[in-house]
Symmetry: D2
Subunit: 337 residues, 4 copies
């Protein structure tokens, strides 16, 4: 890292910085500029503890040089990772499509949707059994009963089941039924949960927190990777900004950026990313054009009767239109659905 | 709630909206304006499920009228709540000061700090034993050993212990040692955790998530209140914005706003809220002037040797200065430390 | 608009609200709900003055119902507007591509680039002669000499010239040379400038301010439209958020959103929208897939020698790749370049 | 500045970076770390042009070291600047209070308010004659007639007149009547305007743009200072964030931050900063406690009849309360009103 001294910092303060760097087991290297002196600290580790240097007298700022994550990085693994489970392939040239309702509501509902999803050519079925809801007064999901219905839907269609796990103590139960464990945006930095899903044998879909930077997102993935579970899919689902015409701002530049920094595949969720059904199809197309490795979208045969988030669910007809348009875009950019 | 129709929406669409409202068990009331027709739905509950109305043809938008929280609201309890534990009083005219290190690091460290905190006139001791850290490579806290040391510090000084609990399964353990359970900003919407701290008998300090709106913050409190635990302190600790000269943007207008909407006391954390030791004292003063019911600040005898977040910790001298200045401000606004 | 009363507001306060509404020349309509009373004010105009209702005792909030803009709205003109100048067509199924350097630097530079732009199949040439720069110490453009060189480039290639005008008093001069007047993001709410470009006879490319909402953006367009100039192109160029891996966050959902609300065409600027050359091509593809009516990108034969913003300029090879990929995407979504 | 190479960048790329640095007239200094090599470029100027280095092959990022502004900096002038005009003193221990209506509406209105402002002990009178309004359909101010009324109010009370100038071509006219030229938030980066107010002989109140960083804010001030006009007051008036319970987020940590970086005084505008009359007084107190050098607030004898922004105007009684509370806070922090 680089320690930037304040203009006119006396030699004694510089010496203290050098001492401190060496106490951290690093080598120091002083560079005297025309207006300002900086000290490079060589041998930097990735533990963040050295920000203590910022508290020393005479220090203006400390600039880290290394990316803080390692196992997620393309520095460690250059070739892109493909996560594959049942017929769902995500990454390394494969575009995986996951669709389904916000919440599992009944056997009829989930089976009807599963057949629609399968029929349109997608390979993954989403559906919440444990639902994190902003209000304690909202529908919280069917819990284990919902998981059973999802497993029935897999049995009927062969679709891979993607469903959320909200807490460490639910991991074992959910892993009994699901094919992919989803960590929701609210839990992106729930570290006990990240470690627990890491220790399961299932692939993980990790959603970006609505105020997470790319470094924070990749460090959350690093918590999972560090346990030995390498099948992690990142999911961009929109960030919180001042915009009020959409539920979140779907920041698609994260797709090509992540492709430069990490080998992990990147899935996009245009349903939460916009919060409006009539914006989902164009943003799904845009995500594919930006190079996304997968899409996860909400679809419901009767959006106005959905128990949660119906306002952002596609109708079956709109979903089929999305599939058809995304296929054309995928062909144009050389991806395979 | 108010359903706003699109200009020129035909009668059939209006009828469908009215039907839908009545199926929800509400009464409808149509108002025909010069350019636009709106339908008021009377008898609204607070469960959010009716956003499904937004998906109906011809509907432009749906405007909720009721605040989504109830037990946290001044509509339910007008007089301000004072949370009191040992000598720490927060709310209803009492300004409670909580200080201490980011992490408990050793017996010597925590006892030295506890005596400094007590000596300067504060009533609560903060210190992390379980530390949520952005990077898996950073120091994660002393865990149960840290809790034991905090309990020793209480024994030595009488200070109330405020410490973070990161997961449902830790609540019982942490509650054995702590006086106040802190829910961190990353966990503001960790609902299993909120319910678990609600079920403990201890007061809770709930930190605002860095991208949480006021409604989301109060709904998180509502999760705790709904379990029957009414001793909840809200903590403003800064939001994530485009500003890059501070770690977060400390949004102090939330203090008077929350005082209008809720009876719960509001604590401010200027350490995380700025992330720079040299901004903490002026922002502590500003928080008190804005009417805060408490402060929680990081203090360390040797910030440059702290194992975490030293860059934002006050020295003991700066902490004493803060106490003295905040006392004067508190007197000016009629609060009692 | 809808006036929401506070719970328990007494009749006298309600009466005062009704009086006030009628003084504004509106009709009032009271709706008594189970918990709350609201008053609809019928006959609302779009002048914003009635927010004064929010200051009355007993009023909780006031909810506007009408969109605040009119001439930009699809309510007024349903069919999409195509702006056409020389060979450049933007909107109504035509995808117009505008490319060129950040700044005009010399005759050789601008002619070389113009031929590259033309050769790759684009129809507009961008290039700054008057440059708004964050720092007073940065290169401020070649001014009138730059305009002359742009006109020479038009003469040599037939490309339409798109260049920025920074102040009302420059409009006449710039209009002597340019084909499209660009209003930069920093000037989106420079109302004297908006009125001045409106009064010129040229089409206008209006860039979104980095913190502008959609309503503010469309109201800025309304300032121009109100003068009688209907050839306005909106340009999404990224918003300011907490993201630090890109210069701005390119919020592409504004493209389909604007297509629902306005007849004006929407151009996307992926160069400023990302600030990194290696993200421009994927985001250009994404913009076209989202339905953009045009692209404006920075290109330079030697980005590392550019006098401004070289870090976000495409090389000629990357620009040709972008054109080829965008052509395939455009074909997939039924647009014509 | 520091050029950070990508891991494994070959020697040829490093050589190209060194060449490029030397072509810029700087000295280069290579530092080989364990994982990464960096190159320090010594002799950096402040012109921003060198970001071109980021476009070179093998370069990961470029980190500037110098602050980009100079004349605004405490490096150039350590002692705080006090701007004084008539009885208004702002900075260097003096707390200047400026109050008045959003818009000048009539002779009676502005004289009544001026006497109220004077009577409560403030020294500056604000009031808009030229009003930038988001909507072209809103009241745009009384223009020159409004300026004449402001001058009459100065004559009657001796208050210093603070009023906005929206465009370069208005500067001369406004300067004939005003004592302080206000540059509004929408115009913070209107460079022709900044230069024009710089060339007048009057002090300038420069408002922070709602998405401006501190560096951008200080560079805008630098545009004025560079013309030779050193009487610049900075004004924090809130930033645009995701928060929706206030009009803007009043980011008070900018006050102590700016005091460290610049000698210019910092005024706070809690009226625009919150947009709600009932939050203005607590935030005015907080601003003074944070060390603000001045306040500018909106006050109106009949907020519900104001032609603009009545919802954020204090009543005369609330204004007097604010003055009395701020006097106590000012005394507590050692400032003089």
């Amino acid at each position: 890292m680089i320690v930037v001294m304040k203009p006119g910092a006396p030699q004694a303060q510089l010496d203290q910085v050098i001492d401190h760097i060496e106490q951290l087991g690093l080598r120091s290297h002083v560079i005297v500029g025309t207006e300002i002196t900086v000290v490079a600290a060589l041998g930097e580790k990735r533990d963040g503890a050295k920000q203590a240097l910022e508290t020393l007298d005479g220090v203006d700022k400390v600039v880290p040089i290394l990316a803080p994550y390692k196992m997620a990085s393309t520095e460690v693994k250059k070739e892109p990772t493909c996560v594959e489970v049942l017929g769902l392939k995500v990454g390394a040239g494969h575009l995986g499509i996951i669709a389904g309702p916000c919440s599992v509501e009944s056997r009829e509902q989930i089976l009807e949707i599963a057949h629609l999803v399968k029929g349109a050519g997608a390979a993954g079925l989403r559906g919440g059994a444990f639902k994190p809801r902003t209000s304690p007064y909202s529908f919280q999901g069917m819990k284990e009963k919902g998981l059973e219905l999802l497993a029935d839907a897999r049995h009927a269609t062969g679709l891979a089941i993607v469903t959320e796990v909200m807490a460490k103590e639910q991991v074992e139960l959910v892993a009994n039924y699901a094919d992919v464990l989803q960590v929701g945006a609210r839990n992106m930095q729930n570290y006990p949960l990240l470690e627990a899903v890491g220790e399961s044998s299932l692939p993980v879909l990790l959603k970006r927190g609505p105020s997470a930077t790319m470094d924070e997102f990749l460090l959350a993935a690093e918590y999972i990777l560090k346990t030995g579970n390498t099948r992690v899919m990142l999911c961009e689902r929109g960030i919180r900004t001042f915009e009020d015409h959409t539920r979140f701002t779907l920041a698609l530049a994260s797709v090509p950026y992540l492709h430069q920094k990490t080998h992990l595949p990147v899935v996009v969720d245009p349903s939460h990313g916009t919060g409006k059904a009539n914006l989902v199809v164009p943003m799904a197309r845009a995500a594919v054009a930006a190079g996304a490795d997968g899409l996860i979208v909400e679809m419901h045969p009767n959006p106005d009767k959905a128990l949660s988030d119906g306002f952002q669910a596609l109708t079956p007809a709109a979903f089929r239109q999305m599939m058809s348009e995304c296929r054309r875009i995928a062909a144009a950019v050389g991806l395979e659905i």
